[in-house]
Amino acid sequence: MSDDAAGDNRVRNAALVGILVVAVLAATALDLPIVDIVTIGFVERSLQAATPIALTAIGGLYAEKSGVFNIGVEGFMIFGAATAATTMWIISGGSPGQGDVWLAILASVLVSLAFAVVFAVLLIRYEADQIVAGLALWFIGLGFGPFMAVLVWDSRNSPSLEGINDLTVPVLADVPVLGPIFFDTSPLVLFTAVLAVVAWKFLNDTRYGYWIQAAGENPEALDTAGIDVTRVRYAAVIFSGVMAGLGGAVLLAHAGSFTGTGETMVSGRGWIGIVAYLFGNYNPIGAAVAALVFGGLDMLQIQLQTVGIEVPNRLVNLFPYAGVILVLTVWGSTRTPSAVGETYESEE
């Protein structure tokens, strides 16, 4: 078993290196200017695109670690984005500024919190089917997210709102490479990077982290150790809802306007978040890195254009989705926590 786990990781890493090598070789063979594609600007844009996915992934990871598969994160993201957009518009009376952006993110977190509590009660207390209820939340988001937009703007899309300004940290911003990537960009990127590290530390080095892991792996062991499994799971599910809502708000804050047509502006990023934490092997930092890969795929289009490779937008936009399928096919059998999806009832 241990060999399996270690072997699994080795295969994972080897495959990742393999893909990179193949990509570089292919690029060389096709005479693609890698240096022009992977620019600092590209990394910066990829990080911004990755931020909402990473936030969602970290939350979803906590829920699943605790034994509850929260596949409603896509729905939470839509609500997060829609709430942030409408709040920003309403509190500013139609001309939002930077302060309104932050207030909108805060409001979005609070609304997500309320939804997450209800959702957690349905999942845990009323033993809802986790898959069906999670899907339902997506559909509810797809309906009521644009609904909110129509109520406010009479259109599924918002007019141009305010996006978040870059934060330039003096001195640090001048550090080569890292400076522009982390210290002269959206402050939410730095926030997410810090959060990923904190989430990792919390999960591995605090008692609550221990409890979350035990709740998902062997709830009986946790129960016999005197900890209430249900409470741990409530906390984790609510956290995942809030994080996904925040992810949606951040997506909006980076985009600067709300899109409610089609699958809305979230457009599968919640699902990608789930795959990101599977790909990251349930490690918050790994999940954030995986999110960056998907963010990079998302931003590839601009890079290809700048170096003069004409691939239709429509198709390049599909790269992240194809990437997800590839990831799931190669790493499909990730070891999920043993007790995911099982309701736990204490002996008492």
């Binding site: 241990s2 399996d4 080095d205 605090t206 221990y210 035990a214 792996e217 016999t224 900890i227 008492e348």
Partner: protein, 518 residues
């Protein structure tokens, strides 16, 4: 513990049991599977609520509503299934729920020194791998982690439920030494086991349970394995076993040099040869978990074999899948009727089709004739006395015995060449046991070859013409039930070679291991 009674529905698992452990001693609780040992200890540990009786600790009556209460009173239990989180480290597991913290983070250095302090008192060797994940440890080490975990929580009384079942002989020896040390240090230990030798080796006192009743408590120093075996098995139950001539029919099912891996990739069946003749019941005895499940799955086509061959009527079916083996005439009463043998949400009619999907007249050209299946279900219910006689009832609404009778009926009605029955009467009421035994014996008399796997010795002795005893994936010996006592079988099942090299004198004149290479 005095007058403990615990009922599960109509089944009395513990019947007015008295039991006491002296401080600083090791007390073995000995009995066969299902004799009520674990139930009794689960009552002590607060997992089950007792129906009657009192539990006292240090002379004080206590009520435990949960393991937490028991733990607070200094009772720790090491379950057969370890309560460990495999993906977490040893240290994390030990402190889980009792973590020392500093600035919000778990204070691993305090934890480490506390654990090392406990370990230094005994010969645990746990402190060397505090940062290893539990999943990377062997079972013996995991067990020591469980013990340290209990001690870390301040346990004075330690209950070890079949602690040796999963260990290698060397690990068992280490464990018994460790238990000795713990007792010397003033801890009280309860050692649940069905292995006579270990009970005698390790314990100061031995209490024997049988059928939920305490048969007696004896001083380990003043008793023998033979006496304990007699107490364990009892002699009241004497099955009528009309003498039979050894069956001479042709072999219908053979396996040669079978090697099979378990779900975790470890070899669970090692070089097994077996042969089942027409008109014969071959019994496979053994403590559960010694490879019987994997062997049966390999024979029935549910698990791939690593090497070796399986033959049905001389034809090599090693590569045949489950479906082909069903069609070829292997019927199978599975070990687990609730997950395998029946679809719990299906009616009995729909369950009557399970495994018969390709069999005429139930299905013809891919389409199912439900009226025929319906008649079939009714016939099974009638002939195999399934209660209630309602073919529209869902499987889950039936009692265990009736579920099992339905499965037995369905599999017999396949009209197979070979019947493989895995624990055919586990968890079944006495009436149904008799009924199922009679059916199997009838089939044998009608000339069918039958393989019965059971951990119940009386069942094996009653049914089998030859008994193969399985231990750690291998056949220890194949013996003749007419001339072998339950004690001798019990010793074989526990991995002893029963003294003399070959079957304790009983196996010498028994037919050969049934390899069927003739």
């Amino acid at each position: 513990m005095e007058g403990i009674t615990k009922r599960f529905g109509d089944v009395v698992a513990n019947d007015d049991v008295d039991f006491s452990v002296e401080k600083g001693s090791i007390h073995a609780l000995l009995g066969e599977n299902g004799s009520g040992k674990t139930t009794l200890m689960s009552v002590l540990y607060g997992l089950y609520e007792k129906n009657a009786g009192t539990v006292s600790i240090d002379g004080e009556p206590r009520e435990f509503e949960s393991p937490r209460d028991a733990m607070d009173a200094g009772v720790g239990m090491i379950h057969q299934h370890f309560q460990l989180v495999e993906t977490m480290t040893v240290l994390q597991n030990i402190v889980l729920g009792r973590e020392p913290t500093e600035m919000g983070l778990v204070d691993t250095s305090t934890a480490r020194s506390d654990i090392e302090e406990i370990c230094s008192r005994y010969d645990f060797h746990v402190d060397q791998y505090l940062d290893t994940k539990v999943q990377d440890l062997d079972l013996g080490a995991r067990q020591r982690v469980e013990i340290v975990k209990s001690l870390y929580r301040g346990a004075d009384i330690l209950i070890l439920d079949e602690p040796t079942a999963v260990l290698t002989p060397q690990e068992i020896e280490d464990l018994l030494d460790l238990m000795e040390e713990l007792a010397d240090a003033g801890h009280s230990l309860v050692f649940i086991t069905h292995k006579l030798g270990e009970a005698l080796d390790a314990a100061d006192e031995v209490t024997v349970l049988r059928d939920g009743r305490a048969i007696g408590t004896v001083d380990a120093a003043g008793t023998t394995e033979a006496e304990l075996a007699r107490m364990m098995v009892g002699r009241e139950v004497q099955f009528d076993r009309p003498p039979r001539d050894p069956p001479e029919g042709d072999f219908v099912l053979n396996a040669e040099g079978l090697h099979v891996r378990g779900s975790r990739g470890l070899e669970r069946v090692t070089d097994v040869d077996l042969g089942v003749r027409e008109g014969e019941i071959l019994g496979i005895a053994g403590v559960q978990g010694n490879g019987q499940t994997e062997l049966v799955e390999a024979l029935t086509g549910l698990r791939d074999v690593d090497s070796g061959t399986v033959r049905l009527n001389g034809e090599d079916i090693t590569e045949a899948n489950r479906r082909h083996r069903i069609d070829a005439g292997i019927a199978y009463i599975p070990e687990d009727r609730t997950t395998e043998g029946l679809v719990q949400d299906y009616t009995l009619v729909r369950n009557a089709l399970l495994g018969n999907q390709t069999v005429e007249p139930f299905a013809d050209g891919g389409m199912i004739d439900w009226s025929v299946v319906n008649d079939h279900a009714e016939a099974i219910i009638r002939e195999y006395d399934v209660q209630p006689p309602d073919e529209g009832a869902k499987a889950k609404s039936l009692s265990g015995g009736n579920q099992q009778k339905f499965i037995v009926g369905r599999e017999i009605e396949h009209d197979p060449d070979v019947m493989i029955a895995s624990h055919p009467t586990r968890g079944v009421d006495i009436g149904s046991i008799e009924f199922i035994h009679d059916r199997l014996l009838e089939l044998r008399d009608a000339g069918m070859g039958i393989l019965v796997v059971s951990s119940k010795l009386d069942e094996i002795q009653k049914l089998a013409d030859r008994i193969a005893v399985m231990y750690e994936g291998e056949f220890m010996d194949t013996v003749d039930p007419e001339t072998t006592t339950e004690e001798e079988l019990g010793l074989l099942m526990a991995g002893h070679d029963a003294g003399s090299g070959h079957g304790g004198g009983a196996g010498d004149d028994a037919p050969d291991g049934g390899s069927g290479r003739e």
